[in-house]
């Protein structure tokens, strides 16, 4: 009953979303106030219906209803309840329903928080969101219905992939999708602006907080994905340039460009057309990501089970949404009034450089991700483009961007002098240079690792950002006038970026690993740590049996940690799974991964197992950096000027 109800409610939601899309937009064009005011109630109804459908699916999982095909494919009676709930988005159909649900959630948030928006504007924004929702609901109902029945019902489910049975699954997809879907709000604002012909600083002020929040979720979601891969996959990697990872990075890069460009539009009325294009682009990349992940055109570890029909639908959807918005852009954008003067060196030009570098970086990632497909489509063979390419291309593109973060903040609007910037920043540059060379040189002296030029580059850029930001903050706080929250948000986020770069630089420059076969009582040394295998025991989990190793970690003869890596055998799959043990610290993580049993010790005949241990310096700085960026975005979004009621009579 419940699945059928869920299905029915979803069909209703489709029609309501269609009404939400068509009526307010028509009303705004024709000046029909009644139709425009239908936007908010329709959005609320739409949200309620999709929420019910979502809860219906979750309910089916929780009560183990294996007569629902999707539940039987992704759950199991032994699966702990919390994973049963998270399994709702463990596969293609359910994750699409999550997408539709979050789209409805963002839509109702816009409806609630847009009291200060003129009616026609909010009608258009909600209308565009309604049309997007209609597309997604149509996709779900025609090709990916999570409520399809399996008759006769399965006795038990196939179980959720053991790799997904981790806290990461509970938060990573929802956070990431909040980001993907959140960019649809910026997109809707851009389309509404193009439709109304009203593209001004006030529009930028309305758009920016929504874009910031979407960006915050996207940053958090991507960071979570990295952290999850690190803690769950067993070999300590955290970014593989896998097509699905790239699919999330590209909208993030555009989103970052967008929040910076919106600043120029908000403050100086500049870059209007460019900002609108970035907003269209960010959401288009979200949709492109959906296509790449679900159509089967690319090989990836993350890809959902694919079906060409789904690929065709998403491609058509993509063409309709992006094609029509870019056509609208080509038609309406030229009519937008030009902004004020800007000097060759000014904060505006730095922001423009930020946009250019981020867009080119996105282009590079897109090129690398799609190149195998392009070559194949041209019948020129099959090739792979992997991490070596992306690392070689991305780092040179991002380094100037990181460098420009400091003069960009220091430069004043409209006109800035290079000589002034240079004199303000020369000590910062010197300090950064000293750190960049001093630290690796010292570490090489202490025998911790070779001095690589990449280490110096990373340390220089992060020290440059930290020192430059601190200096600017000190100078600024001495000046008269209140400092807005958005300033502290910016500094926090930039600091977060610097911390992230330190983490990446140090981990790549100094990580160490040991691959050994170890017996009970034997030890393995990693820098100044000694790990001793104390015992091996059989452990029972709720839906698995595991072999657990206990490693005692000593430093200077004192016990500092205990690691318990496991090798698990889930009842549902034949595949053994390795569960790594991590001891996290501020300056290093110790990471242990248990392998298969190997031949016994040649002399003592004692049993031995494969063990892989890693010393990963500064890796927690990656997660700290991401969290700081998230915090920075939140602080900036809370700035008072976004909460202040904008009076309708003052378009600037």
């Amino acid at each position: 009953m419940i699945p059928e109800l869920g299905h029915y409610v979803l069909i209703l939601a489709f029609w309501i979303a269609l009404a939400q899309g068509v009526l307010p937009l028509a009303g705004a064009t024709k000046g029909h106030l009644a139709w425009q005011s239908m936007a908010k109630p329709l959005t609320a109804l739409h949200f309620g219906l999709v929420l019910l459908a979502f809860l219906a699916l979750m309910w089916s999982f929780v009560i183990n209803d294996f007569s629902v095909l999707y539940v039987s494919q992704h759950s199991n009676s032994l699966l702990p309840t919390v994973y049963r709930m998270a399994a709702v988005w463990g596969g293609h159909e359910g994750s699409l329903l999550l997408w539709a649900f979050l789209l409805a959630l963002w839509s109702i948030a816009v409806a609630i928080f847009s009291r200060t928006l003129p009616l026609a504007m909010s009608a258009r924004v909600l209308g565009v969101l309604g049309l997007i929702s209609t597309g997604f609901l149509a996709f779900i109902l025609t090709t990916s219905n999570p409520f399809d029945r399996l008759l006769p019902a399965a006795v038990d489910g196939r179980d959720l992939n053991p790799l997904l049975q981790d806290v990461g699954l509970i938060i990573h997809p929802p956070m990431l999708y909040m980001g993907y879907v959140g960019f649809s709000v910026a997109f809707s604002f851009a389309i509404a602006a193009l439709l109304s012909g009203r593209l001004d600083a006030a529009w930028a002020r309305w758009s920016r907080p929504w874009t910031l929040v979407a960006w915050v979720f996207m940053t958090f979601g991507i960071g979570l994905g990295s952290w999850w891969a690190y803690s769950e996959l067993g070999w300590g990697g955290w970014w593989f340039w896998d097509p699905v990872e790239n699919a999330s990075l590209m909208p993030w890069l555009f989103g970052t460009a967008l929040i910076h460009a919106l600043m120029a539009t908000e403050m100086r009325g500049g870059f209007k057309a460019w900002t609108v294009l970035l907003a269209i682009g960010a959401f288009s990349l979200s949709l492109l990501g959906t296509f790449l992940v679900r159509s089967g055109v690319l090989t990836s570890v993350h890809a959902f089970a694919t079906d060409p029909r789904r690929g065709v639908f998403v491609l058509i959807f993509l063409v309709v949404v992006v094609g029509s918005s870019l056509t609208l852009f080509a038609w309406r954008a030229p009519k937008v009034s030009v902004g004020g003067r800007m000097g060759l060196i000014s904060r505006e030009s730095f922001l423009l450089a930020n946009s250019v570098l981020l867009v080119v970086a996105t282009g590079a990632v897109l090129l690398g991700t799609l190149y195998p497909l392009i070559i194949d489509a041209l019948n020129m063979g099959k090739l792979s483009v992997g991490a070596p390419y992306f690392n070689a291309v991305f780092v040179p593109l991002l380094s100037p961007l990181l460098f420009l973060m400091v003069p960009g903040v220091a430069a004043s609007w409209k006109e800035a002098q290079i000589s002034q910037l240079v004199s303000r920043l020369r000590w910062v540059a010197l300090g950064a240079l000293v750190l960049a060379c001093g630290v690796p040189a010292l570490l090489q002296e202490l025998g911790q690792g070779e001095w690589l030029w990449s280490t110096s580059l990373g340390l220089f850029l992060s020290a440059w950002i930290v020192l430059g930001s601190v200096k600017h903050a000190i100078v600024r706080s001495r000046q008269p006038g209140r400092i807005a929250l958005s300033y502290w948000g910016m500094q926090t986020a930039h600091l977060g970026m610097a911390v992230l770069v330190v983490g990446i630089t140090m981990v790549k420059g100094y990580e160490l690993e040991r691959d050994v076969r170890i017996g009970i009582g034997e030890t393995v040394t990693l820098r100044d740590f000694t790990l001793e295998l104390k015992r091996m025991e059989d452990v029972d989990g709720p839906n698995y049996k595991a072999l657990r190793a206990t490693l005692e970690v000593k430093k200077d003869q004192r016990i500092v940690a205990q690691l318990t890596p496991e090798k698990r055998r889930y009842f549902s799959t034949a595949m053994p799974m390795t569960e790594a043990a991590i001891d996290s610290g501020l300056f290093r993580d110790l990471y242990a991964s248990l392998g298969d049993p190997v031949e016994p010790h040649p002399q003592t005949r004692a049993p031995r197992w494969n063990l892989h241990v890693y010393d990963k310096p500064f890796i927690s700085w990656l997660w700290a950096g991401v969290l700081l960026m998230v915090l920075g975005g939140v602080i900036a979004a809370l700035d008072k000027r976004y909460r202040r009621a904008a009076s309708p009579a003052n378009p600037v």
Binding site: A273, L277, I280, G281, S284, F291, S295, G296, V297, L298, T299, P308, G311, V312, L315, L318, V319, V322, G323, L326, T327, F329, A330, A333, P334, L370, P372, L373, I374, D376, A377, G381, K382, P597, E599, P600, R605, P607
Partner: protein, 195 residues
């Protein structure tokens, strides 16, 4: 203002490639060995311990090499077809038993000697072929997988069509289906046999 049309133009170009991409299978990897001489090897056969097989034994005929193992699930799917096909005696099929004895078959802590491995492989393969039929004129035992590496094997079962001069003309990764047999293999084999 034509420059505002650039994003749309770029997008449409992208869509064309995506649409083309939908019709391709990214998992279908063409083999670089097609058009090259079949790599030489010398392996013991299934039949007896003192007999060996080399590709040059088949020089002068068109023949097929089928890579299989008893642990391979997809091999069971294609086997009936292969057996039927072999009854037509149009082209000799040589079997390559690939890594029949796996790591988990060896008792923990001890390594089987090559002779023991061959014995185990023989027992298992012979039993399997007795139950399901034997389409092969001869089966070579590639126990350590080195010949497989030379032939670029990565997804058992795999099938090769080799011409009279010993050049590989076609490689199929995955189980043989009736469609592939009729549309690709048979026409190729009859063409090659005419030369």
């Amino acid at each position: 203002m034509k420059k505002f049309l650039i994003p749309l133009g770029f997008f449409l170009g992208l869509v064309i490639f995506l649409a083309l991409g939908l019709q391709r299978d990214p998992k279908e990897i063409p083999s670089p060995l097609v058009g090259q001489a079949a790599p030489a090897f010398k392996l013991f056969t299934l039949a007896a311990d003192n007999q060996t097989f080399e590709p040059k034994d088949m020089q002068g005929q068109v023949w097929m090499l089928n890579v299989w193992a008893t642990w391979c699930v997809a091999c069971r799917e294609e086997h009936p077809l292969l057996v039927e096909f072999s009854k037509q005696h149009s082209v000799p099929i040589v079997g390559l038993s690939y890594k029949e004895v796996q790591a988990q078959d060896e008792p923990p802590g001890a390594k089987l000697s090559p002779e023991d491995k061959r014995l185990l492989a023989r027992q298992r393969s012979e039993k399997w072929l007795r139950t399901r039929g034997n389409p092969y004129v001869v089966t070579a035992l590639d126990l350590d997988g080195r010949v497989g590496i030379d032939y670029g094997v990565y997804g058992v079962p795999e099938t090769y069509v080799i011409d009279k001069q010993g050049v590989i003309r076609y490689k199929l990764v995955g189980a043989i289906t009736p469609e592939v047999l009729v549309k690709k293999i048979l026409p190729l084999v009859s063409d090659l046999q005419k030369t």
